[in-house]
């Protein structure tokens, strides 16, 4: 028996490494097999990853680049850019500067780009666009000495603030749009200061967006918690039917739901008419519930409520009812049993639903645009305004990147706390 054991294959000395059937070291073969299956898994994901990177991540990155890069001035005003580069910041514009300006104005006239440059400067000093277009129109008549000639054309060129703005714009890369996005600006002396109070809109709008989103999150929690609890504690055959009432709004078009709220809430709408018909309010005192902040809050709470109920439900369903019963049998009141036993177990659901609703609310666009009026607009609406109406794309990009940074931070938090894999829909 003893020599049989020494002949057995598994009794090889420990020094010699294990081999596969074809004589390769087992460790290397295993590593190769694992690398192959890793590659295979990656290969399945790769097409989509490339697709998302090309059609989603790259375009957004390209758009955000506009927030720090705007070459409308530097591309079209080469002479003045050269003068700015050669002189210290704060230098008084001399005859050479005005000569460069005159040469550039002639270029603007030739290339018909005065509007483009004027718009760029106008972003930071309103009213200066016409200065560029009107002077460029008569640029060919300019004769030395250029300083007198240009100032005779328009006194506005002597404004030191204008020269400060042009110096800023002479570099294609700028942080000024970020400054503008948080209500700051460069003064004549190059310091950073707050813009005049009547033009401070963006910080307030960011604050309003976050405040309204927080309010909507709290409202969805207050409304969502009881029904999620009811759904989780009813027998499955009833809760499945009631669940349809949550899922149907979820599946219904956003525009349909927004339309429905317009129908219900407007001055001649269903709710006001009912209140008037029942005599609760007079005909001339119909409530203004839409095209203002109230409309935004009501409609968004309704639209985002399923995003709160579904995560809460998926956390509450597995909680065994015996826990609360055990607490009751040990003498806890029903409030105490809820407060100390049931509620702590639902906190992950509250975190998941709350973060999800808040993330979605911060970036909401359609509903505020349709029912928000003036007071119910969110930051997304202002980004859209700068994209389509004021055409200040760099400012839109700066606002968008601040919003995106906030959303990605919350997204990262969501991934840390809850994990994206645990996101469930219906």
């Amino acid at each position: 028996m003893a020599d049989l054991a020494s002949d057995a294959p598994f009794a090889t000395p420990a020094r010699e490494s294990l081999k596969t059937a074809d004589g390769k070291p087992l460790k290397a073969a295993l590593a190769r097999a694992q690398a192959r299956s890793r590659r295979r898994a990656l290969f399945l994901v790769l097409p989509l990853l490339v697709f998302i990177l090309v059609t989603f991540v790259f375009p957004i990155g390209q758009m955000l680049f506009r927030s720090v890069h705007n070459d409308a001035f530097s591309r079209n005003m080469p002479n003045l850019v050269a003068w700015f580069e050669a002189t210290e910041p704060g230098t008084e514009p001399d005859e050479a500067a005005y000569a460069a300006l005159a040469a550039d104005l002639k270029l603007l006239r030739e290339n018909r780009t005065a509007g483009e440059v004027g718009t760029r400067v106008n972003y930071e000093l309103s009213g200066s666009r016409s200065l560029f277009t009107s002077t460029a129109r008569r640029a060919n008549a300019l004769e030395p000495p250029f300083r007198e000639a240009i100032l005779a054309e328009n006194e506005g060129w002597a404004d030191p603030r204008l020269w400060q703005v042009m110096r800023d714009a002479s570099s294609a890369y700028t942080a000024n749009f970020y400054l503008a996005a948080v209500d700051l600006m460069h003064t004549e002396t190059g310091e950073i200061a707050r813009v005049p109070p009547d033009r401070q809109i963006y910080v307030n709008l960011f604050l309003r967006t976050f405040a309204l989103s927080a309010l909507i999150t709290v409202l969805t929690l207050i409304l969502g918690y009881p029904i999620a609890h009811l759904l989780a504690t009813l027998p499955l055959r009833y809760s499945n039917i009631l669940m349809i009432l949550v899922l149907l709004p979820f599946w219904t078009s956003l525009l349909v739901r927004t339309t429905a709220w317009i129908v219900l809430l407007q001055q001649q709408g269903v709710i006001n008419s009912t209140l008037v018909a029942t005599g609760l309010i007079a005909d001339d005192q119909r409530l203004a519930m839409i095209y203002n902040q109230t409309g935004t809050i009501i409609a968004m709470t309704h639209i985002l409520l399923p995003f709160m109920v579904l995560p809460l439900y998926s956390v509450m369903r597995p909680i065994p009812p015996s826990y609360v019963r055990a607490a009751r049998s040990l003498g806890a009141s029903s409030w105490k049993a809820f407060r100390s036993v049931y509620f702590p177990m639902t906190v992950p659901g509250i975190a998941a639903g709350g973060l999800l609703v808040f993330i979605l609310a911060v970036g909401y666009y359609i509903t505020p645009a349709l029912v928000g009026g003036a007071s119910g607009q969110l930051i997304s609406n202002l980004i859209a305004y700068h994209m389509t109406d004021s055409l200040n794309w760099s400012l839109a990009a700066a606002l968008a990147s601040i919003l995106l940074a906030a959303v990605l931070l919350l997204y990262w938090l969501y991934d840390r706390l809850i994990g994206i894999d645990n996101l469930k829909l219906g």
């Binding site: 898994a41 059609t55 957004i60 129908v263 269903v270 309704h302 029903s334 994206i420």
Partner: protein
């Protein structure tokens, strides 16, 4: 959660009050959607129930707003309703045109999102997948990033690449937006999928492709189809990207509704809304049935 026998009177009161509160919240959820349905049959151009409607007088109801959906944009809406009239509807009516666009864009973006999304979900479900968490975060991000940021990004990208105002551009964009939903639903189906089934098939000599189509696919199909329905609804409901990048020829139903709501809202919008509610009821039913089938297939719940 039946009321226990030891409940105090106060608890009894709360028990019923709680159900009433829940009933009111459910009403808040569902009433706005249901209220548009009767109003879309209004004979008058109002958004309230007229007295005739409340007394269930047939004269208070009409199909005029549904008729307007057909005739709006036609060349000869007053012509006799023969074959030529219907051809006019099919070719020229605005709402028919936008419905065709919505279906075309929805169909192709759904196919693209489903194929790419399902493949990726299969890869992500493997335990040996490297950088799983980071890749998953990137693939889900189209759902999280505010739609206005996506739309402005695509606006510049598409003007640069010449995709603006083309069907291809919108289909690609809508596929991107639908992909997170496909990944979430298919990944959820793959949790609890028994990987040894694949190994069994391989050990019996099946090629990876044959294993996929004969073993894996039938089991995850319900999840794939609900993912596809989610992707379709995402595209069917999307308006912001269309606002920014679509040309005049690619207007969709939500885009046309957006016009209607912004300019002057008429009960015709309500009749579109009613049709869309019916569509979503059908889709919801389909997804529910698929979910139950999937659970039965995977033996999760008794059915």
């Amino acid at each position: 959660m039946a009321l226990p026998v030891y409940a105090t009177p106060l608890e009894r009161l709360w028990y019923y009050a709680y159900r009433v509160i829940c009933g009111l919240i459910f009403l808040f959820l569902i009433a706005p959607i249901l209220v548009v349905i009767p109003l879309s049959f209004n004979a008058e151009p109002f958004f309230t129930f007229t007295e005739k409607m409340l007394s269930l007088d047939p004269e208070g109801y009409s199909l005029r707003w549904y008729d307007l959906l057909l005739t709006f944009g036609m060349q000869a809406p007053e012509a006799p309703r023969d074959w030529n009239w219907w051809r006019d509807v099919w070719n020229n009516a605005t709402w028919v045109k936008v419905a065709k666009n919505s279906l075309i864009i929805g169909f192709f973006s759904t196919i693209l999102a489903t194929v790419l999304g399902t493949l990726a979900a299969l890869g992500l479900a493997r335990s040996e997948m490297p950088w799983r968490r980071a890749i998953m975060a990137i693939l889900i991000s189209p759902m999280i990033v505010p739609i206005i940021i996506t739309a402005t990004g695509l606006f510049f990208f598409y003007s640069w690449t010449g995709l603006a105002g083309t069907y291809t551009g919108i289909i690609l964009a809508h596929a991107t937006l639908g992909i997170p939903f496909v990944i979430i639903t298919v990944t959820a189906t793959l949790i609890g999928f028994d990987q040894s089934l694949n190994r069994a098939a391989a050990s019996l000599g099946a090629s990876p492709a044959r294993t996929f189509f004969k073993v894996t696919m039938p089991l995850i199909l319900p999840g794939v189809i609900s993912g596809a329905l989610f992707a379709f609804v995402t595209s069917f409901d999307e308006v912001v990207v269309v606002l920014f990048i679509a040309g005049f020829d690619q207007q969709t139903i939500p885009r046309q509704m957006w016009n209607g709501i912004r300019e002057q809202i008429s009960p015709a919008i309500l009749s579109v809304a009613t049709i869309l509610v019916i569509v979503s009821i059908a889709l919801l039913t389909a997804v529910e049935l698929l979910r139950r089938r999937s659970e039965r297939l995977r033996g999760i719940s008794p059915g």
